[in-house]
Symmetry: C2
Subunit: 369 residues, 2 copies
């Protein structure tokens, strides 16, 4: 039986458990705390920035993969040097540690993306701001951002004084997009690559709130370009596992790459019910070097809505009663205002109806937050 | 978080794990051995016929349910007397311990079934055999049978001399059926009841080999009768959880009940992919007193094929490569000739094609057995 290790015990590791059970893979999770969402498969609790602890964890694994992108590249390289398969590779993952390196890698393969500049305290500010199209522009901390954290839309340099005092900052053109899409795909060790249909993501306060799949009214030509763009990135960075490419769709029908993630991604949760192969199963197949599964869809439409705050038992009961077709995913996290604690997927024949039904669940679950 | 305990650590308990993960229930399994299929959720290993061990296990649970029907009724009653919710109830489960009691319960509500007689060493053999329509007839040991074990088609009394020396035997009319169906449904604590579409089961050497859902070419009127029959049984015995009713379909369009099971059942595995709510999720919802989920179907047809013997990694790779749409469920059991070690489900638009694709997987997985 192939043994797959996952560093990080959050909801992404949690949702790999069902896929591992079905395929008959053994899953072992390295969590930071004993009661994290993936605790059922947790075999070690510790600090993933401590080389000795990570080396302890990987002993006996066939491959190690990740629930998050925070393991230091140096540790990943030492784990690989010790003979362990690391998927995705330290080199691929390092691009997610540094948004400036990511922009540089995308520039190498001439992928459409917002104009960008890396700036520091000594930068010529006028030429830098001109290169990204002037204010307002988008400023990003190169490391550690997620769910809108570490991203600011700025009208003046003074708004990032605090960041600049700490190190380089990425400036990006503020793109007048009409919507955001996510392109999910997976790449296997030997190079086999398999995309899902593009999905539309809708943010609220900078956080993904709703995903609609397939992305409604996506022109065929755009879908083809999205697919080849996604494949070009996957091959250039040699990712193994799931790759999520967040893109902006512009009014003129062009696409620009926003962010990359090299793991199952919130925008792909709708695929668990909608696609024959979920992103969690596909990720495990890819890293365990099993053939990738079909990404055909099982319904015309799927809608995913994130749940924030808490999922109290009594409210869960009301929600399941009101919407018997809802697939609720409860991450079993401690409640906290604004915390992503679960999601719900509803499949259907058309977007409005599915979105309405999924929203009923969200409203009921969040009734008293 | 609701805590559900499962006695028995086989593949049925194993397949409850993904459903528990999604709903955010805590699942604890009491296994006989540490390396059983549900080992990931196993919190205790021991002997389910030992009252003290069972009482230890149920401490801290909200409800206890089952992967099999072998826990002695006396133990179940004592667990309930100690204040634990037992679902299904000891009274309901006891019918699966004794096929004669089951026939008697079905007679009480006038459910169509084969003519039957309980016989022992002192029975008037001529009138008994006449009452079931003469030889050949079907003889069943009242307890402990599964997968064709404990069932014989007999032409003379001497063929069950060994059984009669041990206790009563159930004789049943040998019904000239055209096919076998299974009626899966679930009943919640408060009485809510929800069926799935009837499925057709095909046996090889007395063991379920193939399931086709929905049962092809099932007349509407027959489907309605199947549903009301299934509901009548669920209500009469007051089952909580999944109920599987195996029935014979006769040439004249009548139905006769063959067997009952009060847990997720091999005949329902196809529903994991085909139905919005799997039998494992529905069983957990029912016993945890959550509203039952929709049983609508996600494709026109689903086919399930059992895998026997072993699932070697190299053959799994070939099978997944040949049939990317196959959903393989690997129970992670030690290989043994003839042992049920997994199953595969293929969804599709028509039976022949889905069956052909699922059979490709089976042939590849069983290539060297």
């Amino acid at each position: 039986m192939t043994v797959v290790g996952v560093i990080g015990g959050g909801q992404l590791a949690r949702m790999m458990i069902p896929a591992a059970i079905n395929l008959g893979l053994e899953l072992r999770v390295f969590s930071e705390k004993p009661d994290e969402p993936a605790q059922l498969a947790t075999t070690q609790v510790g600090d993933y920035t401590n080389l000795d602890e990570v080396m302890d964890f990987v002993r006996g694994l066939d491959v190690v993969t990740f629930d998050h992108e925070h393991v230091p590249t140096q540790i990943l390289k030492q784990v690989r040097d010790a003979g362990m398969t690391v998927a995705p590779s330290p080199e691929a993952l390092s691009l997610t540690h540094d948004k400036i390196a990511m922009r540089r890698a995308l520039t190498e393969i001439d992928v459409p993306q917002p104009r960008w500049q890396a700036v520091g305290e000594g930068t010529d500010r006028d030429s830098a701001i001109e290169a990204v199209g002037g204010f307002p522009c988008v400023a990003k901390k190169p490391t550690g951002g997620y769910d809108g954290k570490g991203v600011r839309v700025i009208d003046s340099w003074s708004e990032i004084d605090d960041w600049l005092s700490l190190g380089p900052v990425l400036l990006e053109e503020k793109v007048p997009f009409v919507r955001e899409l996510a392109l999910l795909s997976a790449r296997r060790v030997g190079g086999q690559w398999q995309p899902w249909t593009p999905v539309e993501t809708r943010q609220e306060q900078g956080v993904c709130a709703v995903v609609i799949a397939p992305a409604p009214a996506l022109a065929d030509e755009l879908a083809r370009r999205a697919e080849s763009l996604s494949q070009a990135i996957a091959e250039h960075i040699g990712v193994v596992g799931v790759l999520a490419v967040e893109v902006f769709e512009l009014l003129d029908g062009s696409l620009m790459v926003n962010e990359l993630a090299m793991r199952p991604h919130n925008s792909g949760h709708v695929l668990t019910e909608l696609s024959i192969t979920s992103q969690f199963e596909q990720h495990l197949r890819a890293v365990a070097d099993l053939p990738l599964g079909s990404t055909d869809l099982l319904a015309p439409v799927g809608v995913m809505v994130n749940i924030f705050g808490a999922i109290p038992g009594s409210l869960l009961r009301s929600a399941l009663e009101a919407v018997p077709e809802a697939k609720v995913h409860n991450y079993a996290k401690d409640p906290r205002p604004g915390r992503k604690v679960g999601h719900v997927v509803v499949l259907g024949n058309e977007v409005e109806r599915a979105l309405e039904r999924a929203t009923v669940v969200r409203e009921l679950l969040q009734a008293n937050r």
